[in-house]
């Protein structure tokens, strides 16, 4: 009777244990304090009741857009910073605390260790974004209903069809499924940046180097689409050198500009499920690729 090998990789239970431990480890670093700052920002954005002068039917609409814009902007900042810093910290911290030796001395495949660590970071970001999304939705719902009530009172004499049109327009600026989709897109962007940080941290020996390089990758990743265009377009003015450089940037760096669909949602566009599916597919591709490449490097590393 043969028994399965104990160190068979991709064991969900083992990955779960490492992920939970990583999550707890990060929570103890008090990162959730950021949620208080987020709450202040969301409530602060609520106070910018600035325009609408001369156009009473537009009055108050800017506040709803401001809440959406500031909330999703803060979520992006928070998730990117946390994705980079938390992931860059993990491996060196485990080496420093010598927990890595204890873990690797056991029949824990290095792939499971890496996946578990990444999953822990992503779990933390997901929980934080969920709380922030709930806060944003709450504030936006209250404000939208207040605005509808105000406007309906102001334009009580309007024909019902006109009032319905105005109501629908205000409600579209409030909480929508597309807005939750945008939060999911923020999470996906942070998943890609966290997996990039994981990859970089397997190469580097310093947290600072990983963090700085990762932010550079993030910044360049926002231009990746331009580099890709340079390679793919057969337009004039781009020589073979330029095209090769474009190709190099496009294949090495992740495309973070794709996740800027959140700007479209803030501007009022609907986020179709198909678009979210495409983003999810691309995110999974990046996370799997980066984790696999990290494992290729990490597997041969001696501690």
């Amino acid at each position: 009777m043969s028994r399965p090998a104990k160190n068979r990789p991709l064991n969900p239970r083992r990955i779960g244990v490492i992920a939970t431990h990583t999550f707890t480890q990060l929570v103890r670093m008090k990162v959730f304090y950021f949620l208080a700052i987020f709450a202040v920002i969301v409530l602060g954005s609520n106070l910018f009741n600035i325009q609408g002068i001369g156009r009473p039917d537009l009055q108050g609409m800017d506040v709803l857009r401001m809440i959406r814009s500031w909330s999703l902007g803060t979520m992006t900042l928070f998730s990117v910073v946390l994705g980079v810093v938390a992931t860059a910290l993990l491996l060196p911290k485990d080496v420093e605390d010598r927990t890595l030796y204890t873990i690797l001395a056991k029949p824990v495949p290095r792939l499971d260790y890496l996946i578990g660590k990444l999953a822990g970071v992503l779990l933390l970001i997901f929980v934080s974004l969920l709380v922030m999304d709930l806060l944003m939705t709450g504030v936006l719902t209250i404000r939208t209903h207040m605005l509808v009530a105000e406007q309906m009172e102001r334009f009580a004499s309007w024909p019902q069809a006109d009032k319905d049109s105005l109501r629908a327009e205000i409600m579209a600026q409030g909480p929508t499924w597309s807005l939750h989709g945008a939060t999911l897109a923020v999470f996906m962007r942070s998943a890609v940046i966290a997996s990039t940080a994981l990859l970089l941290s397997t190469f580097s020996t310093s947290t600072l180097f990983t963090t700085i390089s990762c932010f550079l990758v993030y910044f360049i990743g926002n231009f990746q689409a331009d580099a890709r265009d340079m390679y793919l377009s057969s337009g004039d003015g781009i020589g073979p050198g330029g095209r090769i450089a474009g190709l190099a940037v496009a294949v090495v760096f992740p495309d973070f500009q794709l996740f800027n669909v959140i700007d479209g949602v803030i501007e009022g566009a609907a986020l179709p499920l198909a678009a979210l599916g495409t983003l999810a597919g691309i995110t999974i591709f990046y996370v799997v690729l980066h984790t696999f490449v990290s494992w290729l490097v990490f597997a041969g590393k001696e501690f």
Partner: protein, 321 residues
């Protein structure tokens, strides 16, 4: 703790191969997202310079709409301080950062065409000729701004309607044919509220379209939506009917349309005295004279609409074209 060089090389090769695999997929996704209006076009260098290095970095790092919010806040402050050239730059930057936000176009165009133009028109430091020229320049800026806004947001009925209102406005160098085009674009979205259709009909009347066609459409509006029987529509109906078949008894027709002599005089009087509105006036003066005579109001009496219009016209506020 360095990883073996061979492993690093293999890892890099896998990374590049994976990157090449996603190249075309990402290109397709980017084009598709841009087509759906989810992604904006890349930020041009001109905007990057205007918003400054720090804001450009933030905008390029996926926070364009956030930077647009700040640019919009800056425009509000410049509006308060009446810094119009600076405001012009700020509103343009805002819409370049966030071109699909109708609100920014709406408020920006309003600042340029209405607020800045009014400021220069009433600027005591300028000669009347210069004030007029400056005011016209800012109205033109506002019109161009709204035009760009409607081109960027063809589905936004509010923007096109706001442009139509601006082209129709007696106080902003009206261009009636362009107003017709703007209102038509707004109505064609299928989302506009009934006021836009009424405004469109009025704009078409101003450019002198066939009264038979207009009257047929007006009847259709009144039949499909009885709430559209507002004073301006009723007055237009009277004029169009008078153009097609001049009434033998203007008072009887006015009563038939407006319901009573009292109401007919009130509505036609307002329509008649608002001469800056440039609406067709066929038969209106005759009806008013007859209605006023029946009420015992002489044409030179202070209550008379005939006298009021003459006085308003003589005062000429400088808006008559």
């Amino acid at each position: 703790m360095k990883p073996p060089r061979r492993a690093v090389l293999i890892a890099f090769a896998v990374l590049v191969a994976g990157g090449y695999l996603r190249l075309y997929l990402e290109d397709h996704a980017t084009k598709s997202f841009r087509h759906e209006g989810l992604l904006s076009e890349p930020l041009d260098i001109d905007v990057r310079e205007k918003i400054g290095q720090n804001s450009a970095v933030v905008a390029l790092a996926g926070l364009r709409t956030l930077v647009a919010s700040f640019a919009s806040l800056r425009a509000t402050e410049q509006f308060t301080n009446t810094e119009w050239p600076e405001l012009d730059e700020s509103v343009n930057t805002t819409v370049q950062l966030s071109p699909k936000t109708g609100y920014y176009w709406d408020i920006g165009g309003w600042h340029l065409a209405y607020n800045a133009a009014a400021f220069y028109r009433n600027d005591p430091h300028l000669s009347s000729l210069r004030a007029e020229a400056e005011s016209r320049r800012w109205v033109t800026k506002g019109k161009e701004f709204f035009e760009r806004g409607t081109r960027n947001n063809p589905d936004n009925w509010r923007l096109a309607a706001a442009l139509g209102n601006l082209y129709s406005s007696a106080y902003h160098f009206p261009e009636d044919e362009k107003a017709v085009a703007a209102y038509s674009r707004s109505w064609a979205t299928g989302k506009a509220d009934p006021r836009v259709r009424r405004n469109l009909l009025q704009a078409r009347a101003r450019v002198g379209e066939d009264p038979k066609v207009l009257l047929a459409e007006l009847r259709d509006i009144l039949q499909s939506d009885p709430r559209s029987a507002v004073p301006s529509m009723l007055a237009l109906r009277y004029v169009l009917e008078a153009k097609i078949t001049p009434p033998d008894d203007p008072v009887a027709r006015a009563v038939q349309i407006f319901g009573s002599e009292e109401r007919a005089l009130r509505i036609l009087g307002t329509y008649f005295t608002d001469y800056l509105d440039r609406m067709p006036q066929t038969g209106v003066e005759t009806a008013i004279r007859l209605l006023e005579r029946r009420k015992g109001i002489a044409p030179d009496s202070p209550e008379s609409n005939i006298r009021l219009r003459e006085e308003l016209s003589a005062r000429n506020y400088g808006f008559e074209r």
